[in-house]
């Protein structure tokens, strides 16, 4: 039931969610509730596959995914920051647009409906890490993932360093906590918000690339299947803290891998699909039961 392969597959499953959740956490820190992660990730999936297919290079595919994610997130950035539109409306609309756009493009670009896959499509190869891959169990778990999986871990560390050790992070936290105060200290709030949304777009692009070129090598309609929403939940569960988000994503990855394992034991896939959501929900209950002890004082004491 529980062995190294389970954890190894959990690491693959969590990487896309981790990228997307970091994107969400970054935005959250700057006071932008970004729920367009799902759609941006889906655009990343498509762009990654298209880029890899037309250039023949998986790396150019990954790059295309990042660029596409960044460009796509301009929608949310301009809408929310420049026009002051409601972030939820824009997020839902951007997600809808992503589904429509990718379904449309898969037909016009690849001429197929539903799914595109081809033996000639270059995917991400697993990387065997020297020395580490010799160690039993640990090597089996940690070695042999795509480069993007390792990059997602680095991204967590980078996020933490920037957030706590770099002037940008300090300002970002200020922008999220009290935008008008940050502005009065000469910090350009709108520019910071644009920045996080666009960087978040690039991260969602990476999430899509890992999903479509790492975990599998194909594009299919709506293939993100709610992972962007799980990332949104991971941001809330992890309170937009770098390692909190990591923990939440790990929980989800484990649940997904575990569900997959249960399928092997004969449980229908439709039921095990629900595992990540149920696990997340239970985690939220446990977590918030602890927080709930804190009574919400009805007004500030300032």
């Amino acid at each position: 039931m529980i062995d190294a392969a389970l954890f190894s597959s959990a690491l693959g499953a969590l990487a896309p969610i981790l990228f997307a959740a970091l994107a969400g956490a970054l935005c959250q820190r700057a006071g932008v509730f970004n729920i367009a992660l799902e759609g941006t990730m889906l655009v990343g999936c498509f762009a990654g596959v298209a880029g890899s297919w037309y250039t023949g290079s998986v790396w150019l595919g990954v790059l295309t995914a990042m660029l596409a994610g960044t460009v796509y997130s301009l929608i949310v950035a301009t809408g929310v920051v420049t026009f002051g539109a409601d972030a939820i409306v824009l997020g839902v609309a951007a997600n809808l647009l992503a589904v429509g756009l990718t379904s449309y493009l898969i037909q016009t670009v690849f001429g197929s409906r539903g799914t595109f896959s081809d033996p000639g499509l270059a995917g991400l190869d697993p990387v065997e890490i020297p020395v580490l891959d010799r160690i039993p169990v640990i090597g089996e778990i940690l070695s042999g993932h795509s480069v993007l999986v390792y990059l997602s871990w680095l991204a967590v560390v980078a996020f933490a360093v920037v957030l706590y050790r770099h002037p940008w992070g300090l300002r970002l936290r200020g922008v999220g906590e009290r935008p008008e105060a940050a502005a009065s200290l000469g910090v350009p709030v709108d520019r910071y918000r644009y920045g996080v949304i666009l960087v978040g777009g690039a991260l969602c692009g990476l999430a899509g690339a890992q999903l479509a070129l790492g975990n599998v090598t194909l594009f299919s309609e709506n293939m993100t299947a709610g992972r962007g929403w799980i990332a949104v939940v991971a941001v809330l569960l992890g309170r937009a803290l770098p390692y909190g988000v990591l923990a939440a994503a790990v929980l989800f990855g484990l649940a997904e891998a575990f569900g997959f394992r249960l399928q092997g034991l004969g449980l229908p896939q439709q039921l095990t699909d629900a595992a990540p959501y149920v696990v997340t929900l239970v985690a939220l209950f446990v977590f918030s039961a602890r927080v709930r002890a804190r009574r919400v004082v009805t007004r500030g004491t300032e």
């Binding site: 300090l170 200020g174 940050a182 009065s184 004082v297 300032e302």
Partner: protein, 513 residues
């Protein structure tokens, strides 16, 4: 009608800051109409005016948050223009905003360096930051520690963090917008001492305030704005409170109106041993008090000493951990907000825009809240729009609310009229007990007088009023009895006649009496 500017003491020296002919329009509103203001190095200059007189706009222009339509800014004789606060900061202007611009989750040191962070190899240099901040704290003899979290600090101390921020940025011109609104008399004195000290070192201080006695206490020169224009500009020594008040309001104001005492009857509200704790902190500590019909009991104290919690716990908005609340003989401790209101509590909250009203909704809807489950607004299970309108019109007329009509959104009313509308709605309940918080905050002087008169009339009609106010003068003017709160407890009680500003001030600061 611009009066001549007061010449600075040393006319050979260029003014540290000079604003000339500033004009700023917002849509149809002329917020600043050819305003002149100048202050010399080492001067404390007071800028006065009522809400909406254009003080904030003028300071926003100086700080680069708003671009003027006409006029010039010069610093030390050099013409300047600021496209953003960053440019104003770089030119040596620093501003402490009303309600502070601090980040509660960050340390004192991080707050101070925010936006001007020292770095080492690309990352924050926290050691250099702490050293710099410590050096400034010591030089100016402030009572601060760099590593404390700002959210944990008392309000008076936060004020010092704000000033520290300006000094860290080497600001030569310090703008303070209503800095004493949340301070005790002692903290105010302490702040003024710091300001005088800074002026002595050559800084220029612009003090935005509406408190007459502060102007006379600390400033060298004063400029008064009304309706966007300068109505008075003179050395402080050449003016007095009456002149300033007239310049602010455009008419003679009776500043020291004395109301007759109330005639207390039966006990209408009693609070027994009320206790509220939150995360290990005791916000309200075994609090007991009573208010009789026909009297106003005033709660004095520095903001954040449990006044909000006391009122919220009485109104049912905050769960209490122990104690009882009675209206007349009836124990309402177990009731929710709605049932408490039905049992005889009306409530005018401190926060007009968020708690007391819905700014985006129509005035009629705002005024209907609380009346919508009984006739005449409700008949045979259905609401009657015509009655909504008539109900609103009654309150608008009775309380002289200046509004385009019942269908106007609440936010289109001025602060004073919003407050009169809320006051009207709550008084219309004719509840035996009225809770009032900061009834005149952000309200122009004319409306202040109206509101005070209404509260006195409500008391004289035989109702009990519990008044919380940060304006000590308001408490002294209205209350029949005064209770002073400090750290969740009542630390002193005074009758109307035995009240003395200094003694109350000491009690507010927690001094044992």
């Amino acid at each position: 009608m611009t009066l001549h500017r007061a010449e600075s003491a040393d006319s050979a020296e260029a003014p540290a800051v000079e604003l000339r002919g500033i004009v700023k329009r917002f849509a149809t509103l002329l917020a600043n109409d050819h305003v002149d203001l100048s202050a010399a190095p080492g001067e404390i200059h007071a800028l006065m005016g009522e809400n909406g007189a254009g003080k904030s706009t003028l300071m926003s222009v100086l700080y680069g948050m708003v671009q003027p339509d006409e006029g010039t800014i010069s610093l030390a004789g050099q013409p300047m223009s600021f496209a953003s606060p960053a440019e104003a900061i770089a030119a040596g202007i620093g501003m402490v905003q009303q309600g502070f611009a601090l980040f509660d989750s960050l340390s004192v040191s991080d707050n101070v360096i925010f936006g001007a962070e020292p770095t080492r190899r690309g990352l924050l240099d926290r050691r250099a930051a702490r050293a710099g901040v410590t050096e400034l704290i010591e030089r100016h003899e402030l009572r601060l520690r760099p590593d404390d979290r700002v959210g944990d600090l008392p309000v008076g101390v936060r004020q010092q963090v704000e000033i520290l921020k300006l000094l860290y940025r080497r600001a030569r011109v310090l703008v303070l917008d209503e800095p004493t609104a949340v301070l005790t008399p002692a903290e105010t004195d302490r702040l003024f001492a710091v300001l005088r000290d800074l002026a002595g070192q050559g800084h220029t201080v612009l003090l935005v305030t509406h408190k007459l006695h502060e102007v006379t206490a600390v400033s060298d020169n004063v400029t008064v704005l009304r309706d966007g224009r300068v109505t008075l500009s003179a050395p402080t020594s050449a003016t007095d409170r009456a002149k300033l008040a007239t310049a602010m309001t455009g008419r003679d104001v009776d500043l020291d109106r004395v109301y007759p005492p109330g005639r207390p009857g039966e006990e209408a509200l009693s609070v027994r041993g009320l206790t509220v704790r939150d995360r290990g902190r005791t916000l309200l500590d075994d609090m007991s008090l009573s208010v009789r019909a026909g009297e106003i009991v005033g709660i004095a104290g520095v903001a954040g000493n449990g006044q909000n919690e006391l009122v919220a716990a009485i109104a049912g908005l905050l769960e209490s951990d122990a104690g009882a609340v009675l209206v007349g003989d009836r124990d309402i401790s177990d009731l929710g907000v709605r049932d408490r209101r039905a049992a005889g509590i009306a409530y005018i909250p401190e926060d007009r825009g968020d708690v007391g009203a819905a700014p985006g909704a129509r005035l009629a809807d705002n005024l209907a809240v609380g009346f919508h489950r009984r006739p005449p607004l409700l008949r045979r299970g259905l609401l009657r729009p015509g009655e909504f309108r008539r109900h609103a019109e009654r309150i608008i007329e009775r309380f002289d609310v200046r509004a385009p009509g019942p269908a106007a959104p609440m936010r289109t009313l001025s602060g004073g009229n919003q407050q009169k509308a809320i006051l009207g709605r709550e008084l219309a309940h004719e509840a035996p007990v009225l809770l009032v918080e900061q009834p005149t905050r952000g309200v122009d002087i004319a409306a202040v007088v109206d509101i005070h008169t209404e509260l006195i009339a409500y008391r004289d009609a035989g109702h009990a009023v519990l008044l919380v106010s940060a304006e000590l003068s308001e408490i002294l003017g209205l209350a029949d009895r005064i209770l002073v709160m400090y750290e969740g407890r009542i630390v002193a009680r005074f009758g109307k006649d035995e009240a003395d500003v200094n003694v109350i001030g000491m009690a507010m600061a927690g001094a044992a009496l």
